[in-house]
Each structure stands twice: as C-alpha cells, then as structure tokens.
C-alpha cells in the first residue's frame, strides 16, 4: 500500500507571531519556518507503518511556495521515499488544497492519506474532511490511535467527550492529533541521504484545479490584550482578592 502524506510549511510553533505594520498579514521575514507539527506526526505514522510492513511507499506532498522544498526535504530525511511540490506562490485555501490533493490522489492512487488535523497558521481544521468528501471516502479526524485489520482501519479519535473509536474502510483520509506518536529526530547522515531522494517540483496549474470561491481576508490585528494583573503575597491575600472581585460564590 502506498501512503500519501500532506505537508504544509508554516511558521514554527515556537515563534511569537506578530501582525505586520499595515495589518495585511503577519511578519514572515527572518522567521523560522517548519513542517506543520501535526504533519510531522503524520509522516512519522506513515514511516512506522512502512517499517512494520503495512505500507510499501511513503509519498509526501505539499502545495505551496518554492521554499516548501525545505520541509519536504526534512520529511525525506525522516524516511519518506519521495516528495512532490505543487508550486503555488499565492495563498491556497482549504477547499482549493483539498481539490488539489484529490487531483494528486487520482494520479497516485494511495491506499491511505494521512494529514494533520489542522495547520497551525490558519488553524482551519478543514482540508482532511473536505478531501474525504470530494473523494467520497471515509474520514477519521483527530486521531490518536490507529490499527489496521485487513482493509479496515480502527481509529481512536480525541473528541470532547473522551476517546471515540470508529472503523473506516480503506482507502480513507486520516487526520492526526498530537498524541498519536512522537516524531523521530533527523540525523545528519539521513539529511545527506535525503538530498539524493526524488523531489519533484511541478506548477500548481498542472493539477487543473477549478478554483472554488475563496474567503477574502481583510485586516489582521493582535488580540485584545489581557490587562496584566497583580501578584499577591499569600493565600490569605489571594482569597481576599477573590472575594473582593466577587468571583467566589
């Protein structure tokens, strides 16, 4: 079975993101970029499946700017077999990304598609669900446990009420949550080896995606800042302050 993993290049999760001067976006110059953390977990899961003998090939794909090659190279260094970048310099919103991934699926015919549950730039949490709908296949979102029995995947999902289990027939789209696994560290020799692995760069237009209506993004602003509070010296002072605020019933 071939596994397709979707990767998005995003600002690293440790960066304190700032709105740019004219409010048209966020500051990206000189800011560290990484694989979306959820996608790194998706790559790791695909690699573990291959190592267990449950998968034959791991293909990583990204739709994004030329620089997204770096993130694909990282995935190759982790152990993915090959990478494809569909180069699009403009923003690709979730429905367009889902349509693009569907076109890639038609060409690659994977038995499983692993995505992150959300990209931590736009926090959309949409692409996997949209892709599954367009492909007319099952989805299992927010997955923190995954087992395979023949052509069925049993997914454990982190839902508000606890842990839910569902069975999905393959092929399916799985979107992964943070607790599914801990991604491996990339070692220097692997980085060197990854340089020789295939990374195909193609124009986005080649996918022939019909562009859906897009949201128009306007002003970006920092969130309202919480008023900094005070430190109290003792438990008594804390309880008194809570009573004064009227928050203790």
């Amino acid at each position: 079975m071939k596994i397709l993993v979707g990767i998005k290049r995003v600002i690293d999760y440790n960066v304190r993101v700032q709105v740019n001067r004219d409010g048209t976006g966020v500051v990206k110059d000189g800011v560290k970029m990484s694989i979306n953390p959820f996608d790194e977990i998706a790559v790791e899961e695909a690699l573990r499946m291959k190592e267990r003998g449950d998968a034959a090939e791991v293909v990583v794909v990204s739709i994004g700017p030329e620089a997204a090659q770096q993130q694909l190279r990282t995935a190759l260094a982790m152990g993915a077999d090959r990478a494809i970048l569909y180069q699009a310099e403009e923003e690709v919103q979730p429905l367009a990304a889902a349509r693009a991934l569907l076109a890639i699926i038609k060409a690659e015919d994977p038995g499983l598609v692993l995505l992150g549950k959300q990209a931590i730039d736009d926090d959309a949490n949409q692409v996997g669900q949209m892709l599954a709908a367009l492909w007319d296949r099952p989805q299992a979102t927010f997955v923190s446990g995954l087992e395979f029995i023949d052509s069925v995947a049993r997914a454990t999902r982190e839902v508000d009420a606890g842990l839910e289990q569902i069975d999905v027939e393959l092929p399916a789209v799985i979107t992964v949550d943070l607790r599914l696994n801990e991604p491996r560290f990339v070692k220097m020799p692997d980085i060197m080896k990854a340089k020789r692995k295939p990374l195909d760069i193609r124009p986005f237009a080649e996918l022939g995606v019909e562009m859906p209506p897009q949201l128009e993004t306007g002003l970006h602003e920092p969130p309202p800042k919480r008023q900094g509070g005070i430190k109290v010296e003792s438990v008594e002072a804390l309880v008194k302050a809570l009573h004064d605020k009227g928050v203790l019933s």
Partner: protein, 320 residues
C-alpha cells in the same frame, strides 16, 4: 430575513452546551432553525433545542443511521437540508466542538463553498472575525456574495441563549444516499464524576506538568470539588497521563470561558493561553515567578503548589 441552519451537537440524551452559545451567534444573522439528527429513541435533544431563545423551528431528522455522530453519514443529509427544495439556507452553522469541526468541512466540500472556522464576532452579514496562529492574530474574513455562508462558531466568544422559547418541532425527511464505509465502534468517556462540564463550568481548576503525577492530581480534584469547579489540564499533563485527553485546555483542546480559572503548575505556553483568553479571572499558582502565565494572570501567587493548595483549601473552609 436570512435563514440560518444550526446543526445540533448532542449525545442522544442532552444537547451540547455549545448549542445555546451558537444560537446567540446565529440569531445575529437571521431566523434560526436547529437541525437535530437522531434515531427514533434519541429525540430528547429536539425538545431541549426548542426551548432556546432565538430558535424559531427545530428540524427533527430521524434515521436509524443517525445513531452515532459520523461525519460521513451526516454531511450528505446536512448538505441536502441546506440546499433545500425551494428555499435553501443562507447560513449553515455548527459549534466549534469536535463534532462541528469534524462534520462541517465535509458539508462545505459537498456544497463547493469555503468554511469560516471559529467565527468569534459578526461584523456584518458576510464579514466575521476569527482567530489564527493559536489566537495570536485576529483576522477579518469576508464570504463572497452569492454562496451560502458556512461557519463553525467559537462558542467561548458568545453568551448562552436563554431557555424561554417554545419553537415548533417539525420532522424533516432528507433524501440522501448514506455511505456504509464508516462504522461507529464506541466511546470511552472519561467520566469526570459528578463534576461540572469543563466547557460550560463557571469555575475551572486546571493542573499542569508541575503537579507531577496522576496521584498528585488528587490535590487538583480536591480543590475543584471544594469550589464546585470543573477540572482542566495542560497538554503536558495529559501527555504524561495524569488525566484523560478530554480535560485538555488550549489550542488543540477545549477553548473555555469560565468566570474563574486556576492555572496550577502550568507555565502559560501560547497554545495553552489561547484556550482561556476569555476567562473572567485567571489565577496562577507557580513556583517560578518568571513563568509567562503571570503575564496574563489577574492574580498570581508564587510558590510551591504542594504547600499552597492545602493552605488555600483551609482558607476557603474558614471563609465558608
């Protein structure tokens, strides 16, 4: 008047508390119908939805296939209802619960329209604010004219609608082909005991990695019970196995807005803080006086939680 379809999140017995908050958002946009997908024995949430102020009709969609909240099964039904026969809906909303986040994008793709995730403020009929970058940035988005607006509602941003209404409950039949490729196996509820629900509790006591172990977490539960509070946790505490996943607060956990929030042994990472931005009063107890949590806390107390919490319990007893 615009027509709004709100998709109910329920467990077959009760309506998720996020629905009352979503109604508060939905009624700013038009005439609100709530769709409840259920089986013959699980229609109780219909009556609960009919009571919410601002709801003018409840659409009860009964089907044996609706015995579990499976997106693949529900999405075609929702899309069909939303498109309507003569009169479709201008808006399709769902709460930003795991249920809403799972199902609504699938509906959006079937309808061929974009979705606004985590709608936090209505600017006008098509323009909304939503958080991005873990809540570090608020952006304004506009849905183009001529298509229905699909959005998940960031429930912590809206107050709960009252319960004085008596909307009609109308049974609706939906003609959609439903897949069988996805099957529900079961739900392992962590069961917070008789404690209040984390998402709607007025007071929440949360513990982090600083609590140190599953056993030590008893100290958090004890304080919560004293205060009649729900219990929350940081991701680090969940990852370490101190408490189950449904207690996680933050970007990838629950986004909550209690009147009072205790962050105990929690450092205050941005991904955690995004979950409590709308809390009324944040109290931090941490032994590191430089922990970032103190930048956002209304009341901070520096010290060892194992010493301070027993003192706090005593002081609360004395005040009763």
């Amino acid at each position: 008047m615009s027509r709004v379809l709100l998709i109910a999140d329920h467990d077959g017995r009760t309506l998720n508390t996020g629905i009352a908050r979503s109604v508060a958002c939905a009624r700013q946009l038009g005439d609100v119908h709530v769709a409840v997908f259920h089986t013959a024995d699980t229609d109780a949430p219909c009556a609960a939805a009919a009571k919410l102020d601002g709801v003018s009709r409840v659409l009860s969609v009964s089907n044996p296939a609706n015995n579990a909240p499976l997106a693949a099964v529900l999405a075609p039904q929702i899309a069909e209802l939303a498109n309507g026969h003569e009169d479709g809906y201008d808006y399709v909303l769902a709460p930003s619960t795991t249920f809403g986040k799972d199902v609504l994008p699938r509906v959006a793709a079937l309808m061929g329209v974009p979705q606004v995730s985590d709608l936090m403020e209505v600017i006008d009929a098509r323009t909304f604010k939503r958080p991005i970058y873990a809540g570090n940035v608020i952006t304004t988005v506009k849905v183009p004219e001529g298509i229905p607006v699909l959005a998940t509602v960031r429930i912590a941003s809206f107050p709960s609608s009252g319960q004085g209404a008596t909307a009609n409950i109308v049974s609706a039949t939906v003609d959609a082909e439903l897949p069988t490729h996805t099957r529900y196996v079961g739900l392992e509820e962590s069961g917070g005991g008789d404690r209040p629900d984390l998402q709607s509790a007025r007071c929440v006591v949360a513990g982090g990695r600083g609590v140190g172990s599953k056993k030590n977490f008893d100290i958090i539960f004890r304080l919560a019970d004293k205060l009649g509070a729900a219990v929350g946790a940081s991701r680090a505490a969940v990852d370490a196995g101190y408490v189950p996943n449904d207690m996680q607060v933050g970007q990838t956990g629950k986004i909550i807005a209690p009147d009072l929030y205790f962050a105990i042994g929690i450092s205050g990472a941005i991904q955690h803080m995004t979950g409590i931005k709308d809390a009324g009063c944040i109290v931090a107890i941490n032994k590191d006086g430089d922990a970032p949590i103190f930048e956002a806390a209304d009341l901070g107390l520096v010290g060892d939680l194992f010493q301070l919490l027993p003192e706090l319990e005593k002081a609360l007893d004395a005040g009763e």
